[in-house]
C-alpha cells in the first residue's frame, strides 16, 4: 500500500494526491500537523526527509521526497497507457523535445509555487514573504500561461503539452487554482479559467479544501 506523508492544505501535496486519484491508486494518508505545529520540521520527520518537506511518498520501501520526482515515478510505474508522462524508448528529435517541454512546465510549476504559492501562504498563515513581489511575479507567469493556453486551444491541444493532459497540467494546477487565496485574481486570464475547468472535469479528479468541484 502506497503511503503518503501529506498535509491537506499543501499545494505540493495536492499535486501528488491529484495523480494518485486519477490513476485510482489506493493510498494511506499520513497527515502531518504542518501548521501551526510544524511537525514536518521536527526530528522525527527529519528521519523521513532530512529537508523536512512534504509530500514524501513511501511505496513499499521506495521513498521519494520531491513532488516532481513523485509524479514522474507514479506515472512511470502505474500509468499503463503512458499518457501522463509520455516517454518512448529511443526518441527522435521531436519526441525528445516534447519531453523537454514537459519538464519545462515542471520548472514553471516551481516558479508558480514561489510566487502565487508563496503569496497564498503569506496571506493565509502569515509566512514571511515580499508580498508585492510575489503577486507581481505570479501575474507575469499567469500572462505567459494564459497566452500559451490560448494558442494551444487554437490548435485543438487544450492542455499544456498537447492533445492530452500530462503531469505538467497537474503540477501547475494547484498554485493556479488557489491563487486567489494570495490575492492574485484570475479575472484577467480567461484561457487559464477554461483550463482549470477542464482539469476539474478529468475522470477521477479530486478536490481539496479551497478547491470547488466542476
Amino acid at each position: 500500500m502506497i503511503k503518503l506523508h501529506d498535509y491537506e492544505l499543501s499545494a505540493d501535496c495536492y499535486k501528488v494526491r491529484l495523480l494518485l486519484g486519477i490513476l485510482q491508486l489506493p493510498y494511506e494518508r499520513l497527515e502531518l500537523d504542518v501548521y501551526p505545529e510544524r511537525e514536518h520540521r521536527l526530528a522525527a520527520f527529519r528521519a523521513v526527509d532530512p529537508l523536512g518537506r512534504v509530500p514524501v511518498l513511501d511505496d513499499d520501501g521506495v521513498i521519494l521526497r520531491d513532488w516532481a520526482a513523485i509524479l514522474v515515478y507514479l506515472a512511470q510505474r502505474y500509468d499503463g497507457a503512458q499518457r501522463w508522462f509520455p516517454r518512448v524508448d529511443r526518441p527522435d528529435a521531436a519526441q525528445a523535445a516534447s519531453l523537454g517541454r514537459l519538464v519545462e512546465w515542471l520548472s514553471f510549476a516551481q516558479r508558480l509555487a514561489g510566487s502565487a504559492g508563496a503569496a497564498r501562504l503569506h496571506d493565509t498563515i502569515f509566512e514571511p514573504a515580499d508580498i508585492e513581489r510575489c503577486r507581481a511575479s505570479a501575474h507575469e507567469l499567469f500572462r505567459m500561461l494564459d497566452e500559451h493556453l490560448w494558442f494551444a486551444e487554437q490548435q485543438d491541444c487544450p492542455w499544456l503539452c498537447g492533445r492530452d493532459p500530462t503531469i505538467a497540467d497537474l503540477a501547475c494546477f494547484p498554485d493556479v487554482v488557489l491563487s486567489e487565496e494570495g490575492g492574485v485574481s484570475r479575472l484577467p486570464y480567461p484561457a487559464i479559467r477554461r483550463w482549470t475547468d477542464r482539469i476539474k472535469r478529468l475522470p477521477n479528479f479530486t478536490t481539496m479544501a479551497g478547491v470547488f468541484p466542476a
Binding site: 491537506e8 492544505l9 497527515e31 500537523d33 501548521y35 501551526p36 505545529e37 510544524r38 511537525e39 496571506d123 493565509t124 498563515i125 502569515f126 486567489e180 487565496e181 490575492g183 481539496m208 479544501a209 479551497g210 470547488f212
Partner: protein, 290 residues
C-alpha cells in the same frame, strides 16, 4: 472613532504557541498595527502599538493583555467586561486545541455569520457537515438572552461525518451563541457522552474593515480523539469556507434588512445583523441606514 462596543472590548491577536515559536508577532487590530513579543527567559508577553512612522517617537504599550485558552487577548481601550468565559474549558477531563490562526480577506462579521449559517453545510462542506439531498432546514429559534448575547437553538442538520472519528451519518443538534460581535460558539452533543456538549469557538480578530484573522478553539471530551486530528478537521472545514468568504461582495457586512435577501433558514444571520445594528457595531459593517 471606533465604537466603544469594539474598542473597549477584548480581542484575540495571536495564538500563544505561534507567538512562542516566532518570538515576535506583527499584526493589526481594528486598523491599529501591533507588535506582540514573547520573552523566552521571563515568559513575559508584551504588546505595543507599532509606530506607523518610525520618526514619530516611542510606540505605546498596550496595557490590557491577557493569555486565555491558548490565545493572547488585548484591548485597545478600557475593557468593562472580562474575556468571555466558558465553564466547559475548566472541566478537568476536557482537552483544548487551537487550530492555527488563518487570515481572511473579508470583514470578520461575514466570517461570524458564515459560522452561524446552516444552509451552506450541505454544499460547501458536502460529505462532512451536510449532504444532498438533505438540504432542507427545519425551523429553529433565535433569541437574545438577558446578558445581551444571541442564542440559536433547535438547529438540526443531517451530517454524514460530523466529526473526525464518526463513520456514520445522523441528525445533529446545534446550539449557537454569539457572545460578542466578533465571537461565536457552537455547541453540539459529544457522540459518546451525549449529555455533555463539545464546543467550537471562533474568535475573529477584526484587522481592517475588510479583513480579519480567524482563531479557532475546540474544547472537547477526548474520547479517542487527539488534538492533531481535531486541528486537521477544523482546518479542512475552514479551508472550504475561506474561498466562499473571500468571494463575497461587498466585503463589509450590510446590516440593513433589505440589503441582501433572506429566507426563513437565514433566521440566525438576519437576527445577527439586527443585533449588530442595535449594538452600534459599524467597523466591518455597512450601516442599516447607509
Amino acid at each position: 472613532m471606533i465604537e466603544s462596543v469594539l474598542w473597549d472590548d477584548w480581542h484575540v491577536v495571536a495564538e500563544l504557541a505561534e507567538l512562542q515559536r516566532r518570538g515576535v508577532w506583527h499584526t493589526r487590530l481594528l486598523g491599529v498595527a501591533l507588535i506582540v513579543q514573547w520573552d523566552p527567559e521571563s515568559g513575559l508577553i508584551r504588546a505595543r502599538r507599532a509606530a506607523e512612522d518610525p520618526r514619530s517617537g516611542s510606540a505605546r504599550a498596550v496595557e490590557a493583555l491577557e493569555v486565555r485558552y491558548g490565545f493572547v487577548w488585548v484591548s485597545l481601550g478600557r475593557p468593562t467586561r472580562p474575556i468571555v468565559e466558558f465553564a466547559e474549558c475548566h472541566e478537568p477531563d476536557r482537552l483544548l486545541a487551537t487550530a492555527g490562526s488563518v487570515g481572511v480577506a473579508v470583514s470578520g462579521l461575514r466570517a461570524v455569520e458564515n459560522f452561524l449559517d446552516l444552509s451552506h453545510l450541505a454544499f460547501v462542506h458536502e460529505g462532512y457537515l451536510g449532504e444532498q439531498p438533505h438540504t432542507e432546514i427545519a425551523p429553529y429559534a433565535v433569541e437574545t438572552l438577558a446578558d445581551g448575547t444571541l442564542r440559536a437553538t433547535g438547529c438540526r442538520v443531517y451530517q454524514p461525518k460530523p466529526s473526525p472519528v464518526e463513520s456514520a451519518g445522523f441528525d445533529v443538534d446545534y446550539i449557537y451563541a454569539v457572545l460578542r460581535p466578533y465571537i461565536v460558539v457552537l455547541f453540539k452533543a459529544n457522540p459518546v457522552e451525549q449529555s455533555r456538549k463539545d464546543m467550537i469557538a471562533l474568535f475573529v480578530q477584526p484587522v481592517t474593515e475588510e479583513s480579519c484573522v480567524a482563531h479557532i478553539l475546540t474544547c472537547y471530551l477526548p474520547h479517542e480523539i487527539h488534538p492533531p486530528t481535531v486541528r486537521r478537521f477544523q482546518q479542512f472545514i475552514f479551508g472550504q469556507d475561506r474561498p466562499i468568504l473571500e468571494n463575497q461582495t461587498p466585503k463589509r457586512l450590510p446590516l440593513g434588512a433589505r440589503a441582501e435577501a433572506s429566507v426563513r433558514a437565514d433566521l440566525s444571520s438576519a437576527s445577527y445583523r439586527r443585533w449588530l445594528d442595535a449594538a452600534g457595531v459599524r467597523f466591518g459593517a455597512i450601516a442599516a441606514s447607509a
